[in-house]
């Protein structure tokens, strides 16, 4: 097997080959690290590459495989978004504020990955503090879409999606507050899953909007998403919002028999403003594929959809303005050392440490929570959130899975929307409702638009119905047969 073949394996293929000892974990990790070295100058997906600790983890995995006591992900090279705390490894959130922050502990998902034997090859680029839809808000670098280097990979988990698409790791973790796993997965032609709020522990995830944030997998296929979700899900006493429910074997739930599932198609999503006709037709073709595979489809309505963007962009910044108050130059992170007194130190530290979009969201959130505006903005948005939840609850009495586009357009050009934040926010229209309602959502590749740009199909299910969601996505993936197409990226031979 050539190094390129190794890097292009899915996680489950690599697991099988490792178990049969046809390949070794060190050989696989070396190939992935070499691949990162060669194409990182074109993609810029990584903030930190942990090649040395990865080598040690790979050697330990080979040893465990030989000894017959290997974990389920032993020897699989994965990477994580750089807002998941990694003990002893710098965790920046793509912010100057945390440029030198070395967490003294691992996030719960990292403990779980480490215990499963996975090999962590690095930390991935993102929009600063996960605020953005293009990864252009990173304080360090702009990640490029592997399918078209002049375009954004989506965001905020743009590094994660680009790295998976470009074979720079076999699978990755991202986080999703308003679409930040699903939208980049859609733009990069990979699978992305935002679990139910509370399904995965947020302990050690740097907080953006705590009532919306959730960690999830970004992978090459649905089977890998099921495997990675099983590895990271579960109750954690250190996150009081994580839910104490058994974690099913999600992979065992995968099947192409979806005759028992009803799919709902929301009228409001069809006529959404700014829909690209090629995205519409790719999604319509996906509905036909599912119908041909035996699915029952019904029309449904989510009447408060048009208000989701406004409600979200008050609630999320309000929570962020409170969460980000912790960056005060005292306990960790950047500090301005020239200030005369405490208050000036706070002001200068925060003004120099945060980028423009983070400041905008802090200002917006502070405004929405401030005296005289609280009722009109934050409280009103929280009431609209209830109505959006009720829309979904009503819809799930009629269907099991809701079908929608993931994003209204394919990946846009780098620089196209940077000066118009509202336009950037509006591109999240299809994804952020799931966060407001706390339900799981998944993006699976469903076709290509002009210029060979990937288009994603979004599926959403009721709380904790990830098994149904993955089954539906797996059945679609098998029926559509578009998996396995890869972007062509020239390697820089060093």
């Amino acid at each position: 097997m050539t190094p390129a073949d190794l890097c292009g394996l899915t996680m489950h293929e690599a697991c099988d080959l490792l178990k049969k000892r046809e390949i070794s974990a060190t050989e696989l990790t070396d190939a992935v690290v070499e691949r990162i070295r060669n194409i990182e100058p074109r993609i810029d997906a990584y903030i930190t590459v942990t090649d040395q600790s990865a080598r040690r983890q790979a050697e330990a995995a080979d040893e465990a495989i030989r000894a017959g006591n290997a974990g389920p992900l032993a020897g699989i090279p994965v990477a994580v978004k750089d807002l998941i705390c990694t003990k002893g490894i710098v965790t920046t959130c793509a912010s100057k504020m945390l440029e030198a922050f070395v967490p003294p502990y691992d996030a719960s998902v990292m403990e779980k990955l480490n215990n499963s034997g996975a090999v962590m090859v690095g930390k991935l680029n993102m929009d600063e503090f996960a605020m953005g839809s293009s990864t252009e808000n990173s304080g360090f670098k702009i990640t490029r879409n592997p399918w078209d280097l002049s375009r954004i990979p989506g965001g905020s988990s743009g590094g994660s999606a680009a790295a998976v698409a470009a074979d720079m790791c076999l699978g990755a973790l991202g986080s999703d507050t308003g679409g930040s796993i699903r939208q980049p997965a859609s733009h990069c032609g990979v699978v992305g899953l935002k679990p139910t709020y509370g399904r995965v522990s947020r302990y050690g995830l740097v907080a953006f909007a705590s009532s919306l944030d959730q960690i999830g997998p970004i992978t090459r296929d649905v089977t890998d998403a099921a495997i990675l979700l099983s590895a990271i899900a579960g109750h954690d006493p250190r996150d009081s919002t994580s839910v104490d429910r058994p974690v099913p074997d999600y992979r065992a739930a995968l099947s192409t028999d979806i005759r028992g599932l009803t799919f709902g198609i929301p009228a409001e999503y069809r006529d959404a403003e700014g829909m690209d006709p090629q995205v519409s037709s790719a999604v319509e073709a996906a509905v036909r594929t599912l119908t041909d595979a035996g699915a029952k489809c019904v029309d449904i309505s989510l009447p408060h959809t048009e208000h989701a963007v406004a409600a979200y962009y008050l609630i999320a910044p309000a929570e962020a303005s409170s969460n980000l108050a912790r960056y005060d130059g005292v306990k960790y992170g950047y500090r301005n050392t020239e200030a005369g007194g405490l208050k000036q130190m706070y002001n200068r530290t925060r003004s120099e440490g945060f980028g423009a979009e983070v400041k905008r969201r802090i200002l917006l959130g502070t405004y929405a929570l401030s005296a005289g505006y609280y009722d009109a903005y934050y409280k009103k948005a929280s009431q609209i959130r209830t109505l959006i939840q009720r829309d979904f609850a009503a819809a799930f009495t009629r269907c099991d899975i809701i079908l929608a586009p993931t994003a209204p357009t394919p990946a846009f050009q780098i620089g196209e929307k940077v000066d118009d934040p509202l336009q950037m926010y509006l591109s999240d229209i299809f994804t952020l409702s799931a966060n407001l309602a706390g339900i799981p959502g998944l993006s699976v590749p469903c076709g290509f638009a002009r210029g060979g740009l990937p288009v994603g199909l979004q599926m959403m299910a009721n709380h904790f119905a990830e098994a149904d969601l993955l089954k539906a996505a797996y059945a679609f993936e098998q029926a559509a047969g578009i998996n396995g197409k890869k972007p062509e990226i020239a390697e820089d031979t060093a």
């Binding site: 030198a100 922050f101 070395v102 003294p104 502990y105 139910t196 509370g198 006493p237 009081s240 919002t241 839910v243 408060h304 208000h307 406004a310 409600a311 962009y313 008050l314 303005s321 005060d328 130059g329 005292v330 306990k331 992170g333 500090r335 200030a339 005369g340 007194g341 405490l342 208050k343 000036q344 130190m345 002001n347 925060r350 003004s351 945060f354 423009a356 400041k359 905008r360 200002l363 917006l364 502070t366 405004y367 401030s370 009109a376 009103k380 948005a381 929280s382 009431q383 609209i384 959130r385 209830t386 109505l387 939840q389 118009d420 934040p421 926010y425 966060n435 407001l436 309602a437 706390g438």
Partner: protein
């Protein structure tokens, strides 16, 4: 919807941010765009609709009040810009 430069500076002060004069206008414009879009929420009747702060039904999570192992002092201070005698050091508070 209009946000004045003074309003931007007032909110920035509340959030402990300093906004350079050159940037105030841009923040005022983009914030006004977003808040104008949010005006549409005012048209939705939310009489008797309770606000939602948490999307999944769970009750309060209690734990036993017992001493357990937590981060050692040294590790907790490890990322501090300045520390001394096991404590965080801040610039003088009273000026």
């Amino acid at each position: 919807m209009k946000i004045t430069k003074d309003e931007v500076q007032h909110v920035a002060e509340l959030a402990r941010l300093e906004i350079a004069d050159a940037d105030v206008e841009k923040f005022a414009r983009t914030l006004a765009d977003i808040l104008e879009h949010a005006e549409s929420l005012g048209r939705v009747d939310t009489t008797d609709v309770p606000p939602t702060a948490h999307a999944v039904e769970i009750s309060n999570a209690f734990r036993q009040d017992v001493v357990a192992k937590h981060l050692e002092n040294e590790a907790a201070l490890g990322n501090a810009p300045e520390s001394e005698a096991g404590s965080f050091v801040v610039p003088k508070v009273i000026e």
